[in-house]
């Protein structure tokens, strides 16, 4: 079933385990994501779902197992190849929106200021806030800030986009505008791994949904299949809880 090291494999985790001191956060995670695939990871808090995404972003280290990205080992990636969107946006407050977007292209990719700015404005258009380029992040709403954060990652022209609960810190009325941008991105064929509890989004966009609990992938499958008939009792209980609200 698993086509190892095929050119169309974007991410491959094999037997990945991770501990914080004595506490095991990830237990023998194996997962393959194809190029262009959209994977949604859900699960209760503390299940290790954020850790998986942070591992792929290079923000954490693991103690056991292998991670291959785009067929190669992790550290061979070009800077910015893997875009990351955080729950708390993490925009740079001392820089304008435009400077937030151009910092990576100029300082990490070596683009000229003009090239980077042109690219930044194109992506601001794409996340539908071209008029906010000169403002500071603090002057924007949460939804706008998260869209800037998405544009900032896109400016590095990543091959894979990671989202760590991108709408969890947002007021309800701002969730839709962020999800719309993400759906646009998905429609363009971006490979995406998204930790989220937005099951409507998962249903519309995800090729597969992975349910994690206690550091394991308990169940993984196509949305229509898992929503209709979850195989494990834990996933059924979880879905029952979050879909009721």
């Amino acid at each position: 079933m698993q086509n190892k090291n095929q050119p169309n494999t974007a991410v491959q985790l094999t037997g990945v385990s991770k501990w914080y001191d004595d506490f095991q956060v990830l237990r023998d995670i194996s997962l393959t994501v194809e190029v262009g695939e959209k994977l949604v990871i859900c699960g209760p808090s503390g299940s290790g779902k954020s850790t998986v995404v942070r591992l792929l972003a290079g923000l954490e280290t693991h103690q056991q197992g292998d991670i291959h990205l785009q067929g190669g080992a992790m550290n061979t990636q070009r800077p910015g190849d893997i875009g990351m969107v955080f729950q708390s946006f993490n925009l740079f407050p001392h820089l304008s929106v435009l400077d937030n977007l151009t910092l990576g292209p100029v300082k990490a990719l070596g683009l000229s200021r003009a090239e980077a700015e042109e690219r930044a404005r194109a992506y601001l258009d794409r996340v539908r806030i071209p008029e906010q380029a000169e403002k500071r992040p603090a002057q924007l709403s949460g939804g706008q800030q998260q869209r800037v954060a998405i544009a900032r990652a896109l400016c590095m022209e990543p091959k894979l986009m990671l989202f760590d609960e991108p709408t969890s810190a947002l007021d309800p009325e701002m969730i839709a505008e962020v999800l719309e941008v993400m759906e646009d991105l998905a429609a363009d064929g971006m490979t995406m791994i998204c930790v989220t509890h937005e099951m409507g989004f998962a249903r519309r966009v995800a090729d597969r949904i992975a349910f994690m609990d206690a550091g394991e992938i308990v169940e993984i499958g196509a949305p229509e299949q898992v929503f209709k008939a979850p195989k494990s009792e834990r996933f059924a209980l979880f879905l029952d809880k979050i879909l009721k609200h």
């Binding site: 972003a57 800077p79 910015g80 993490n90 925009l91 910092l103 300082k107 400016c155 590095m156």
Partner: protein, 255 residues
């Protein structure tokens, strides 16, 4: 209004304030209306030059050394962090006066022992000592300021491909500076006041000049009162400058 009249007015103020204890005071030593008093005042305030020069040079050096000492504190390897701890704990523990003696009298001897012939004059002795002594505190201020920037900032910088050095330069330090500025200003005021110790190794700054005048005029109370006012003026000017700088930076970053 000439400088002489300002001096006259302020000394008159002092006179009235202190006239409650007649016989105790002899303000004639620094009375700007008399030739002798005016000469004395001019002799005393010429000390501003050295005090300011020593303080500014020491503060700049202290900031540079402090930053260089603080940066290894953020290394992932604990052996790289060790020099930072040793430097801070060791330098912070040395009182200024013994350190001044050690640098001024001892350092040339130590260097000669190593085959390097240097002579340290009182000016540079004071600058080096103040800079070293203060750098341990500056390093701690930098460390605290850098640590106060949320972790997510460094993580975001990493995910857009910035190296650790570039993340520090373009993301962390610019944000840390705002939090660092007020305690750094405190340290600068501390340096200005501690520069008085330079008088013991013969540097003719404010305090040394006051001491010399006391020896010839036998009016310590009046002369040291003026000395305190001289430091007060200096510190108030620094405070005003820092407040202006803070306002400017605050307006620059709307949050």
């Amino acid at each position: 209004m000439t400088f002489r009249t300002i001096a006259l007015l302020s000394s008159l103020l002092l006179l009235t304030a202190c006239s409650a204890a007649p016989g105790t005071w002899g303000w004639y030593v620094i009375d700007p209306t008399t030739d002798n008093g005016w000469t004395n005042i001019r002799f005393l305030i010429r000390g501003f030059t050295s005090t300011i020069q020593i303080s500014v040079l020491a503060a700049v050096a202290s900031i540079i050394i402090g930053l260089l000492v603080a940066l290894p504190a953020f290394a992932q390897n604990r052996w790289l962090r060790l020099p930072n701890r040793i430097y801070v704990e060791f330098i912070r523990a040395i009182p200024l006066l013994p350190m001044l003696f050690w640098v001024f009298y001892g350092l040339p001897v130590v260097m000669r022992g190593m085959g390097i012939s240097i002579s340290i004059d009182p000016f540079w002795g004071a600058v080096i000592t103040l800079a070293l002594s203060d750098s341990a505190f500056t390093a701690e201020i930098f460390r605290a300021g850098i640590q106060s920037v949320p972790r997510g900032q460094a993580e975001a910088a990493q995910t857009i491909g910035l190296s650790r050095a570039k993340a520090m330069r373009y993301v962390i330090l610019p944000q840390a500076v705002r939090r660092i500025l007020p305690p750094l200003a405190n340290q600068f005021i501390y340096i200005v006041k501690m520069s008085a110790f330079a008088s013991v190794i013969g540097m003719q700054e404010l305090t040394r000049r006051a001491n010399e005048l006391v020896v010839t005029e036998y009016r310590p109370l009046e002369i040291y009162t003026l000395l305190i006012l001289e430091y007060l003026v200096l510190v108030l000017i620094i405070s005003a400058g820092v407040r202006w700088l803070e306002r400017r930076m605050g307006a620059d970053e709307s949050r």
